[in-house]
Amino acid sequence: MWWTRLKALIIKELLAVLRDPKGRAILIGPPIVQLLVFSYAATLEVRNVDLLVLNRDGGKWGYELVQRIQGAPTFRRITFAQTPAALHDAIDRQRVIAAVHIGPTFSRDIEAGRPADVQIILDGRRSNASQIVGGYLNQIVATLAADTPAGQRAATAAVSVVARNWFNPNLIYQWFMVPNLVASIALLIGLVVTALSIARERELGTFDQLMVSPLRTHEILIGKLAAPMLIGTFHITIYILAAIFVFGVPLRGSLVLLYGSAIFYLGSVVGLGLFISALSKTQQQAILGAFLFLVPAMLLSGFATPIENMPEWLQPITLVNPLRYFLVIVKGVFLKDLPLSEIARNTMPLALIALFTLSAAAWLFRRRLE
């Protein structure tokens, strides 16, 4: 008997989201666009940058340095300036991100065994990218330095550093990005769909009809919970399939463990959504409330930047963020074959958050009803 009622409610909830063709389109189109744009555009790598060279040296070594810069794959277009003023202007107006200034005595100094100077000017307005460009240019200069007569004499004392990358040997950015997206898309969709579900009924006045139906409060809550969880699972599945078959991310761990922890993750997300929904009077408030939670949750999850880079007093706040734990699980299952104990350690907080938000939402509803 209760099952029939509940089933009817779940179907009704799914229909409320999926009935309208525009509503269906919005649950399918944007997530796919996001997947493509995020995974191809969101990269902190630096490529194809434009560079300016001011070479005031007439000799062989200045020419050699310019040749090596032109040969580097990082740089797209190298332009030449004749005067320091032109260099200044190009940096100011962001025509180039960096400029290399070779002084007039560059070759003479090298031939004479004196230390020769090169100046690299970088645009601090884009300090992240310009630091990387600075690193590349320093490397180019260092290899040139090793080929100078003085450099060849010193070469034998050099210590080499051999780097190896575990889990992602070629440091492919998409292997990092796509598993992150699996976790964040479920948060985005799950939260918005749930937050709207009750607010919409309240705004349209159908919530009262639901109240006078034979459904009990907890049945209404379960019905409201099941639909977004199904939709969230659907999105996670699509993204996992894309990760494996489109982006070629290796799946080294167990999918069973991943889905097992995903239930708790979705539970905590939907709990948060219901909580927001219970607090808001209108759809507009629900959407904006969900958004007000989403943005900090994304930024303080370890997705954009590692949590250990944040100031220490801010780090404890991330402990209540479900995304933080699920990111570790998804990335760990895909790339590292994370052991069961570690997955359980990250699933526990998710279960706690789910328990807390769901009971808080249930309490809020009962209070509103009485």
């Binding site: 309208d20 525009k22 509503g23 919005i26 944007p30 666009v33 996001q34 744009v37 191809y40 555009a41 990269t43 490529r47 194809n48 100011d92 107006r93 090298i110 230390p115 100077d117 090169v118 100046q119 690299i120 970088l122 601090g124 307005r125 884009r126 992240n128 990218a129 600075g134 320093n138 200069v141 003085a150 010193a154 004392a157 210590v159 550093v161 051999v162 780097a163 190896r164 990358n165 575990w166 992602n168 440091l171 950015y173 292997w175 990092f176 919409r200 209108t282 759809q283 507009q284 904006l288 958004f291 007000l292 943005v295 900090p296 930024l299 954009a304 250990e308 590292k336 994370l338 052991p339």
Partner: protein
Amino acid sequence: MTATAHGVGKEDWRGSAQRLATLVRKESLQIVRDPSSILIAFVLPAVLLFLFGYGVSLDTARTRVGLVIESQRPLTQDLAASFQASRYFEVSIGRDRRDFEEALVLGRVRGLIIVPATFTSDFAAQKNPSIQVIVDGSDPNTASFVQNYTQGVVANWAALRGAEVAAHPPPISVEQRFWFNAELKSRNFLVPGSIAIVMTLVGTLLTSLVVAREWERGTMEAIMATPVTATELLAGKILPYFLLGLTSMTLCVALAVLLFGVPFRGSLLALYALSASFLVPALGQGLLISAATKNQFLASQVALISAFLPAFLLSGFLFEISSMPTVIQWVTMIVPARYLIPSLQTVFLAGDIWPMFLRDIAIMLLIGAVLFLLAARSTQKRIA
């Protein structure tokens, strides 16, 4: 004749101004009465700025690494001391790489630096001594940082050692200068960039929601039945949100300068000219979305996907446009935030560079004009 025509024209104009004033008043009341508008226009900007000021930092703090010294000698201890002194690493020292392999899988350390047992003898014999570094590639950005900083620490240490053994000055010395942001604080460019995000939220997300609600509830048709023209209707919707956008931008700039100490080297004139020009396409997009969707849920989703995410991802705010695939680079051409963010960063960090500002303002206004035309057309179509 002329007088009559003139009189009618004047009457029309006065009536129009009156109707517009009423609409603006209605819209402003709606903003003031709904706590969620205030939330988006004032609370969210403060939260965002706070997050970008403190939470999101691209400056790597101390990264946890494991340092494996396979044989303890004075030379390797000296090298270990260099790692411990580095401000980029938080080092735990071990004897065997197996001590740390599990920690690397669990993410407790980001990398493993291994000084092999033969290092001391290789170094003494000048037989190409080498150090191995194993990094956690599941976060490529941190992985490259660990690699680069390890190389830096080792090179510095070797140079100091070499200088002690035989005076070898480096053949070429590089002088590296970062203009406009000498201390390389990522906050200095993230905070100005996040102001563009805030204005996108107010201009596009909030506006599209509010207008979509009118369509959803049928109050739009009610307004259309009055003598208000489509132009007046659009203008009445836009003006209050235009002012709201400028107000929350002002709040952000005040917070950025006073709380986060971001330098402000340009002029207020440039700041407001750029912001006002950006709000034109932002509002136009909001109106177009609401007229096309007529539903709050759809409008919010379309606004997120077409305005918020592009402002975040495709604007050069966090990710370099030149590193993106060519097709996506074309897409960025129609993202208004792409033209605002570099200019805004310039106003803050470099000062007034008008040739750059004027070009960006012109492009933003052009995109805005196209969006408004489309919005007006789709609003008119609904009346017919």
